[in-house]
Structures are given as structure tokens and as C-alpha cells.
């Protein structure tokens, strides 16, 4: 059969390119750590993927070239602190590729978003390393020292921005100063937003999920702010803090683990948005993206079943 448009491999590659702007913003604010984490992630993802493809008796080069392992690695690597020790990203990516994808039968057969499964695994296993971000810009040698355990990271690190904001807010800090501190997060989010718009323009992702995630966040944030606008994060800050744009355009849109019907995508995305805000506000973790996505992944078969489009000639 003749074919039109992009192939699966090209789609994966386009998504990777679209991440570039957000990754660059991260690099600007967090330094070389970001790049080191990505490289570590990519190498381990490819190694583990190749090993498992070989064990499963699948064509290694043919399957590895689909780019899905690299994409998983990048998504996970940019979600974890840039100064996390090297073994964090390596075990996380290995878990994502093995338990998140290969054991289910490889690309296309995984019910969960592999990167988010890896993230949840890391957050539960290494809570300290996963929530410690650098407070200042670090030089290349400093980063190498920290990531490869040559130097202890006390003194150059602080809590995750969202966590910080949450704690400060509850202590009664001024919101204006906090917003100033969050400027790096805002730029990173804008970077991913632009990348996401590129994907929409290239018709690589459909509008339904990003729009639904963002409206879910908006709706839930509004509801919460109605109760108390002082103790909780202001509505607009939900959009430019944490991994909001990354999750709306790159994570929730993973087609394999998302709902596949037009109506289902809206429900799926909206509930992810709602859950993100709920977990951010009331949960014990700094950000709620991974758990929100994984919880909704579980609901996908049900959503798909009840949101079938109308079939021609049937009422």
C-alpha cells in the first residue's frame, strides 16, 4: 500500500527535535547537568533496549532505530534533578525500558507511559536524590563532580521549586518574590510550549490531549482557589511551574498509553490535568504528573470502550 506522511520513526524523531527548545532552557538555568543526564539516559536506554531485543529474538537494529527508547530516556532525564547521581538516571531508564515497555512486548504494547513509570519508580526509591535541585548555576566540573559522586552536594542544592513554593506559601511568604524565583521554570515551560505548538502544527499530535490537560489544570486550580487563594498556588502559576507544559504536550500525548478516541482523549487529558493539581496541592510529592498520567493510563481501556465514535448508518 502506498503511504502518505511521516513514518513512526520520523514521528519519534520529530518529537525529540521538538523537545530541543525546552531542553535548551533547562540547560541555560541548570547547566551541563541537564546534558549529562540526557546522555547518560540515552546510552543506558539504547543498551538495555538492545539487550532485551536480542533476548526476545527481535531484530535489534530494526527496532532500536524507532527512536522510542531515546525519547523515553530524554523525557525521564529532563524530569529528574540535573545533579542527581549517575545511577539514578541509569536505573530509572533501565526500569522504564524493561518493565515499562519490553516486558509488555515492546513499542505499542505498553499500557503505561514508560518514562513516567521510570519516574515513579525513582521517586519512590530515591526520594532525596529525586527532589534535590541546584540553587545556583553550576560549572561543568562541579556538575561532573556531583553527578559522579566525587563531591557531596550539600550547599549547592535546594528543594524542588514547586515544593519550595508550597512550603513558603504555607509559611506566609510573599507571592511576588516567589514568582521572581520561579522565572527559570517559566522559561523552561515556555520552551516546551513552543515545542508542543510545533508538534501541533506538524499534525504529529492532536490538539485534544494538550488542550484537555491544560483546561483540567485550569478548572481544578480555579476550584481550589475559590476556597482559599492565599494558601494555595495562584491559578496562573500552575501553568508555568513544574512540568506542566512538558506533561501537556509531550508526556500525556504518548499515543501508545493514551486514549485513542477523539472524545476519550478529551476525558483522559482533562482528568490528568485535574489529578496534577490535586496531587500538587494535597499530595506528599512536589509534582503530580507521573502519578496523574499513570492513574489515567489505567483508565484508558475503559475510556476507549465508552467513547467510540458514531458509526455511519448506526444510531
Amino acid at each position: 500500500m502506498h503511504n502518505a506522511g511521516l513514518s513512526t520513526n520520523q514521528i519519534m524523531r520529530q518529537v525529540i527535535y521538538a523537545l530541543a527548545l525546552g531542553v535548551s532552557a533547562s540547560y541555560v538555568f541548570f547547566g551541563f547537568g541537564v546534558i549529562i543526564q540526557i546522555l547518560l539516559g540515552m546510552v543506558s536506554a539504547l543498551t538495555v533496549e538492545a539487550l532485551f531485543l536480542a533476548l526476545r529474538g527481535r531484530p535489534v537494529l530494526e527496532s532500536i532505530s524507532d527512536g522510542s527508547a531515546v525519547l523515553t530516556a530524554i523525557l525521564l532525564a529532563i524530569s529528574i534533578p540535573s545533579i542527581a547521581p549517575w545511577w539514578v538516571v541509569v536505573t530509572g531508564v533501565a526500569f522504564a525500558v524493561i518493565f515499562g515497555k519490553q516486558l509488555y512486548g515492546g513499542l505499542g504494547n505498553n499500557p503505561f507511559n514508560p518514562a513516567m513509570l521510570g519516574y515513579a519508580f525513582l521517586l519512590i526509591s530515591y526520594p532525596l536524590q529525586m527532589t534535590t535541585w541546584p540553587v545556583d548555576y553550576l560549572s561543568f566540573s562541579q556538575v561532573v563532580d556531583v553527578v559522579f559522586n566525587l563531591l557531596h552536594f550539600d550547599g549547592i542544592s535546594g528543594a524542588t521549586r514547586l515544593d519550595d513554593v508550597k512550603t513558603s506559601l504555607s509559611l506566609g511568604s510573599d507571592i511576588a518574590t516567589l514568582q521572581l524565583q520561579s522565572i527559570s521554570q517559566a522559561w523552561i515551560n515556555i520552551g516546551f510550549l513552543v515545542g508542543g505548538v510545533y508538534l501541533l502544527a506538524r499534525k504529529i499530535i492532536f490538539w485534544h490531549i494538550p488542550a484537555a490537560v491544560l483546561s483540567g489544570i485550569l478548572a481544578m486550580a480555579l476550584v481550589i482557589s475559590m476556597f482559599d487563594s492565599q494558601t494555595y498556588l495562584p491559578v496562573q502559576n500552575h501553568f508555568l511551574l513544574g512540568g506542566t507544559m512538558l506533561s501537556a504536550f509531550f508526556i500525556a500525548t504518548d499515543p501508545v498509553s493514551a486514549s485513542t478516541t477523539p472524545k476519550g482523549r478529551l476525558i483522559y487529558g482533562f482528568l490528568i490535568g485535574v489529578l496534577i493539581v490535586v496531587i500538587r496541592t494535597y499530595g506528599g510529592y512536589p509534582d503530580g504528573i507521573a502519578f496523574a498520567v499513570l492513574l489515567m493510563n489505567m483508565a484508558v481501556p475503559l475510556i476507549d470502550h465508552y467513547t467510540q465514535p458514531k458509526v455511519f448508518g448506526r444510531s
Binding site: 500500500m1 503511504n3 465514535p309 448506526r314
Partner: protein
């Protein structure tokens, strides 16, 4: 100006465009092979034998099946063979065929139709001519036209399908450009037969020459022309009716149920020939296209081999891939010895290419955005792959029209439609098996019931007999006693008498 909208479908540029759509008349073939099996119905029975001389247009095989049309000789000559030959089917199936060797004279059998004054003829006579001339749907489905006409009793609208939405195919386009008068007259005949109030000729808006040609010859108020967006699947009957009239034919229903009759333009022209002069359908226009040839339309006698047809083009000397029917809904073929038949609208001759290997489905959902029926191909594919036919049915597998839009856009190059026809075949087999099992079970259950019933009846019979015997014995006993009493009385009497006498 196309106000008509279709859901789903794909816009595909003609991959092999031409400046001018022409029709080349093919020279008379030396040899033709005519299959006896048609699209539906029984296989026709030959009414000629090997060695017989036949004329062009002579009936050579027939059947009583009302769905079928007779088979005509497409050239004059001698019947040389009646045997199994490869027919145009995706499996490379062999079936009974009649082979005729040409005498080069092309002598026609004498026929007479209604003539130009067809309004004098009544409906049934005209339908009769259509059947006797062997007219079937020339758009690709091959459904016999007379059956459709017989069904169209309460027809209010006639739709003449000249959309020809399959990219690359241009035989209908050529026909409309070169025979506009016959097409319009054919529509008038159909209006007369069906009694419909109006007729719409549907043409895609990238076929301006055809549109203009028909517009020039159309002087009938009942006939209008509609330009549709040039988008693949616009020509699918039910979708076309929906776009033109806003009527949605229910799943499993027919256009005739809603008072609509659809006919292809080429069939309409063939109906014109059939009714006016009872000229049998013995040739058709075939598009031969692809990257190994300069695209052409050739009017070929039925039964000409693909090989012969391709040899009439400027085909290059490389290795080729062949496909019959459209780029989307056609099938790849290996053998080109098979004959051209009534539904062969197009042959693709492409230079050999390596096929792209399919990857896993990533559920991107491109397929469900192009599905004109609104199905979820990715879900059906998942279940078809697992042979879970029941689940496929939940996702309305049987509504799939196999248009292949989903396969076309799939980024993983999965031939989705192939899975769907496989799942349908599996469903049919399961249904047939289930039917057989049901019959067997019914039979078994009846046997059990029968044995039980016999047993009961016998038991009842025995009981009745016993009862009767008992009663009889009791009766006998009573009777016996009475007898004995009588005897005793008699003895008594005798004794008394003796005593008296003594």
C-alpha cells in the same frame, strides 16, 4: 463550487497525471478467455461446444439464476477450449472459462433494441434488454444492473456516480469526456425505467472537462450535475448518497430502501447501448497506469489478457509489480495471463519496489480520523490480530467498506485493511461453523427426545397391554366362575333328573 462535505477520507493527488484524457481503441485480440463465474450467483452453463463458430455478441453461456446475466462472445471466431483458467481474483483462483480464437472478421450478431424512441418501450422490456445485454456495475463492484433496477420501485432520486475517486483511474473520466451524449441519454432511460423525479450526476471537481462536456449535452430539467470535492471515498455509494441528499442508509440496509438508485456512469452508457440497440457489453475502457508506463485509457474487448493489454502500452523492460483495480482498493497480482473482465477498470504497472516492513501500532489515531465510516481501525486491528472476533464485532467490523484510507495513512505501514478482511472471513467461517454446530446440536437433541419419547410410548403401550390383560383375566375369571356355576347347575339338574327317573 462544491458544497458537499464528506467525513474522513484522504485527499490524494493523482500519482500519474496526464495532460489529456484520451481513449485508444485496441486492435482486435486474437484470443479471448471468458470466465463463466460472475461476481455473484451461480456459474453460467456453456451453450456452445468446442469447435462451434460464434459471432460477436452471441450468448455463449447462461444461467437460470435471476442475479446473473448471460455471457457473450466478445469477438467472432471459433470456440477452442472450455476449461479451468486463471481468473482475475486476488487468490489467483482458477475457474471454468470459454476460450475463443478470433477469425479477424468481428462479425456481429443481429440485435434490435427499443431504438431512439425508447419512451414507447415499457419498463420491464427495458430491464429485460439490460439483463440480456449483460450489464453489470462497471465501477468495480460488478453488481448486476437489472437486479438494482427491479428493486428500484419507489425510486425518487437517481444518482449517477461519475466521481471516480480512486487516484490514478481515469476510465470513467475518459468516458464522460468522449461519450457525454450517450451518458445523458442513458440517464434519461434510467429516469424512464425507475420513474424517478430527478437525477444527479456526481463528478469530482478535478474533472472539469468531463463536467463541461456533460453540461453541454444536458438539456433535461430533471438531470442536474453536482461537483464534489476531489477526495478519496467520495464515490462510495452510501457516502455519496449522504453527501448529496443527506440521507444516511442504515448499516446493513440498501439504497433502494430509501428510494435511491445509484449507477456508475460507464454502466449508464452501457445501459444506453443495451436499451437503444440491445448491444451486449463486450468491451470496456481500462486505464493502464503506473510508473512503468505512460498512463493511457484503452478500450479493450472482454477476455483480452492483461499481458496483451499491457503490451499495447509503452511499458519499459524492467521487472514490474502489478495491481488490478484502484491504487487503494485494488489487489496486487502476480500472474498477468488472466483476462480483462467487466470490473477491470484499471491496471497498475509499477517498477518493482522493496516493500516497507510494518512496525508496531502506536495507537496514534491517524486511522480513525480518516475512516469515512467513523470506525476505530486501531482497536479493530488490535483485536483482529488476537483473533478476538467478538471484540471486532463490538467495534463494528462489518461496517468497514475496506477503502484502505487507514492503511494509507498508517505511519507504521500496517496493512490494516488486510487484517479486516481476514477478520471478516474468520467471522463468516465462525458463523458458518456455529450454524453447523447448531444444526448438529438440534439434531442430536431431537434424537434424544425421540428416543425418550419412544421409550415412554413403549412403556405406556406395555402398561396398557398389561392392564388390558389383567382386565381380561379378571373378566375371564368371572366368566369362568359363571361357566363353572352353569356346569355345576347343569350337573345338579342332571343329577336331579337321574334321581327323578330312578
Amino acid at each position: 463550487m462544491s458544497d458537499y462535505e464528506f467525513a474522513g477520507g484522504v485527499v490524494i493527488e493523482n500519482p500519474y497525471p496526464v495532460d489529456q484524457v484520451k481513449i485508444i481503441q485496441a486492435p482486435l485480440p486474437n484470443h479471448v478467455v471468458l470466465p463463466l463465474q460472475q461476481r455473484i450467483g451461480d456459474e453460467a452453463k456453456p451453450c456452445v461446444k468446442v469447435g462451434d463458430r460464434v459471432l460477436t455478441g452471441q450468448v455463449i453461456a447462461q444461467t437460470q439464476d435471476q442475479f446473473c446475466v448471460p455471457i457473450h462472445a466478445s469477438i467472432s471466431g471459433t470456440v477452442v477450449d472450455i476449461s479451468q483458467q486463471i481468473i482475475p481474483h486476488k487468490s489467483g483462483l482458477k475457474a471454468n472459462c470459454i476460450s475463443i480464437e478470433s477469425d479477424g472478421k468481428d462479425e456481429w450478431i443481429k440485435t434490435q433494441g427499443c431504438g431512439n424512441d425508447f419512451l414507447q418501450c415499457d419498463r420491464q422490456t427495458m430491464i429485460d434488454y439490460v439483463q440480456r445485454s449483460g450489464i453489470v456495475g462497471l465501477g468495480g463492484a460488478g453488481f448486476p444492473s437489472h437486479t438494482k433496477l427491479n428493486k428500484a420501485v419507489d425510486c425518487h432520486t437517481l444518482i449517477i456516480n461519475g466521481t471516480e475517486c480512486e487516484p490514478g483511474v481515469m476510465c470513467d473520466n475518459a468516458l464522460m469526456q468522449h461519450h457525454p451524449r450517450e451518458v445523458i441519454r442513458g440517464v434519461e432511460i434510467l429516469l424512464h425505467i425507475t420513474g424517478a423525479k430527478k437525477a444527479i450526476i456526481a463528478i469530482e471537481n478535478d474533472k472539469q472537462e468531463a463536467y463541461q462536456a456533460l453540461l453541454m449535452f444536458n438539456h433535461n430539467d430533471k438531470i442536474s450535475l453536482a461537483q464534489l470535492p476531489a477526495k478519496y471515498t467520495s464515490g462510495a455509494e452510501k457516502l455519496l448518497i449522504k453527501a448529496l441528499l443527506g440521507i444516511e442508509i442504515p448499516s446493513g440496509g440498501f439504497a433502494a430502501d430509501k428510494g435511491v438508485l445509484c449507477q456508475n456512469v460507464a454502466s449508464t452508457k452501457a445501459i444506453f447501448d443495451a436499451v437503444i440497440e440491445q448491444r451486449p457489453l463486450i468491451s470496456r475502457i481500462v486505464t493502464i497506469t503506473g510508473d512503468a508506463v505512460t498512463p493511457v485509457n484503452i478500450e479493450l474487448r472482454l477476455g483480452t489478457s492483461f499481458e496483451q493489454a499491457i503490451s499495447l502500452t509503452d511499458v519499459n523492460a524492467q521487472a514490474h509489480d502489478y495491481r488490478m483495480g484502484g491504487m487503494m482498493m485494488g489487489v496486487d497480482i502476480v500472474d498477468i495471463k488472466m483476462p480483462i473482465c467487466k470490473i477491470t477498470n484499471c491496471i497498475f504497472v509499477n517498477n518493482k519496489k522493496t516493500q516497507q516492513l510494518a512496525k508496531e501500532c502506536i495507537r496514534c489515531g491517524s486511522c480513525n480520523t480518516v475512516c469515512p465510516i467513523g470506525l476505530l481501525p486501531q482497536q479493530i486491528y488490535w483485536h483482529a490480530k488476537g483473533k478476538n472476533i467478538e471484540k471486532c464485532m463490538d467495534y463494528n467490523l462489518l461496517d468497514c467498506i475496506e477503502c484502505a484510507c487507514c492503511s494509507y495513512v498508517c505511519p507504521s505501514h500496517i496493512d490494516l485493511v488486510n487484517y479486516f478482511s481476514f477478520a471478516k472471513a474468520l467471522h463468516n467461517k465462525q458463523t458458518a461453523d456455529q450454524h453447523k454446530t447448531d444444526i448438529a446440536r438440534d439434531r442430536f437433541e431431537f434424537r434424544e427426545y425421540r428416543l425418550e419419547r419412544n421409550k415412554k410410548e413403549r412403556a405406556q403401550m406395555m402398561a396398557d397391554k398389561k392392564q388390558a390383560l389383567k382386565e381380561k383375566m379378571a373378566k375371564d375369571k368371572v366368566q369362568g366362575q359363571a361357566q363353572k356355576d352353569k356346569i355345576a347347575q347343569a350337573m345338579e339338574r342332571v343329577k336331579k333328573n337321574k334321581e327323578k327317573n330312578a
